[in-house]
Symmetry: C2
Subunit: 146 residues, 2 copies
């Protein structure tokens, strides 16, 4: 809220570029550039891959599944905190549920939800994350029965 | 995940002490020491005070209401990221729902949920936060009907 750094931290730059290229544009060919060969989901309640270690193929499958449910998926970054190879992101996701999600037929609903993530970065590549998504907001907007 | 700082950042120390004294111990007399006269909840979906500016009396009411629903409420800190007066915390909350919550009778359930918060700190006092709580986990464990 007070002092802004003069130059953006290299890890913050990498995570912002990762969010744009990989999550927002859905560019599968960018995974190798941004994601480590071993990617650990330390904690991500409700995510089908919570607690798992993914190789790049696993990461690709997770991205494809997420974007299949919401093909116009977009993350807007609200704030960033960066220290010692960790980058915390506060974000808002928006997307239209035009593909099936966890066995539910597409609802066509436009949804918006908040989340916060800590990404772990090593030598410019992401090695994993901790994340909390406001899943209740998504469930309510999709009118799922949990 | 790699380098640990030799000394803990002063803002991180303050936020850790705030979590212990104010949230875990429920020490109302500590609010003046840790919380600014104006505390802004920038974003906290589902929180009754989401989007509001609180004075210390308002902050106290929010604390009292939260701990009334879960008198043994406790936050365990899983990771911290600190930069330029912002402190991001990944945490796990645990508590027994032995008081009423948002008009629902006490369920007696023991609950556990993850959350992530960015706290804003100015001269040692907290001026506000952004937060995402895994509300769906809480709703499911309390068997609420939303």
């Amino acid at each position: 809220m007070t002092t802004e750094p003069q130059t953006m931290h290299a890890d913050e730059e990498r995570v912002r570029a990762f969010m744009n290229r990989v999550w927002n544009a859905g560019d599968l060919s960018a995974i190798e550039e941004f994601v480590s060969t071993r990617y650990t989901i330390h904690s991500d309640p409700g995510d089908p891959w919570d607690g798992q270690e993914l190789d790049r193929e696993g990461f690709k499958q997770r991205l494809v599944a997420s974007r299949a449910a919401f093909p116009d998926l977009e993350f807007e970054i609200d704030d960033v905190v960066c220290q010692d190879s960790r980058v915390a992101l506060s974000w808002t996701m928006r997307g239209t549920n035009s593909g099936s999600l966890a066995g539910h037929a597409p609802s066509g609903s436009r949804i918006e939800a908040k989340g916060l993530t800590i990404y772990y970065v090593d030598a410019g590549r992401l090695t994993g994350h901790r994340q909390v998504v406001d899943r209740l907001a998504i469930v309510q907007q999709l009118r799922l029965t949990r």
